[in-house]
Symmetry: C2
Subunit: 147 residues, 2 copies
């Protein structure tokens, strides 16, 4: 895919797709939200080839979803932490997970609970203005005027 075209596309989905449209990046972000920070933790969790992991971590860092932090000077060691943009990606992961639970839900699945009151989390997307679930009301799409 041509990233230059995508970055100027007026569709916000297309803008995100440059890295969201990649299985490894999504799984790395999932693991980062689960608390993993180090190269070998990701590698072992995902069974990913180190070449791939190096590239994906570099891309996610360049794109501003992760940041490298040195946690040891001798030897030099880095860890990867979520940035604000990376943390704000969590809703996307939850909605992907909710879809997978509904349509790919055979067998045992990991479950997520609200740590404070113990109820299982059921993620839904709503319009903050109307409160209606996304997809339950008709949508009007407005293209930007040519600049």
């Amino acid at each position: 895919m041509d990233n230059e075209i995508i970055c100027n596309d007026p569709c916000p989905i297309a803008r995100s797709v440059a890295f969201a449209g990649d299985a490894w990046s999504l799984l790395i972000l999932r693991d980062a939200h689960a608390g993993l920070t180090r190269f070998d933790q990701f590698r072992k969790s995902l069974g990913i080839a180190p070449t791939m992991l190096t590239r994906r971590l570099a891309t996610l860092t360049e794109e501003g979803l992760l940041e490298k932090r040195r946690y040891s000077e001798h030897p030099p060691r880095e860890e990867y932490l979520l940035t604000a943009a990376g943390r704000d990606f969590l809703p996307v992961l939850f909605m992907i997970g909710a879809w997978g639970r509904q349509y790919r839900g055979g067998g045992k699945l990991v479950r997520f609970f609200d740590a404070e009151n113990g109820t299982e989390i059921k993620a839904i997307a709503v319009d903050e203005v109307t409160g209606a679930k996304i997809g339950t009301r008709p949508i009007r799409t407005v293209m930007p005027e040519e600049s």
Copy 2:
């Protein structure tokens, strides 16, 4: 990536990633939600090579997000319609779009409005039980017992 491993992974995100983790598929689903149904409509909208489009449409059809319907017998012509699973993917697209609007929002962007009352849609993910935004409360993850 190895799809066999992924399909038995207990993480619902990993289950979805087999096709959600692909830029073209996400953009095809976006266009399908915008009302496109035919091969050439997708091809022109996306600028995708026909080989790619054929494969992606076939995968999305096999995975149950689209279905082929014959709309002409002579000549035989098919169109691609969203299934229930495909329609239920809309919240994922909206959350991806919401992230892109916030973090990749330079220049003109397409905007989405509630067709009934005219307000702009602001998609957020919430826990249906507590009503809290996803990410604002601590989460406890529970792995399934070994079967």
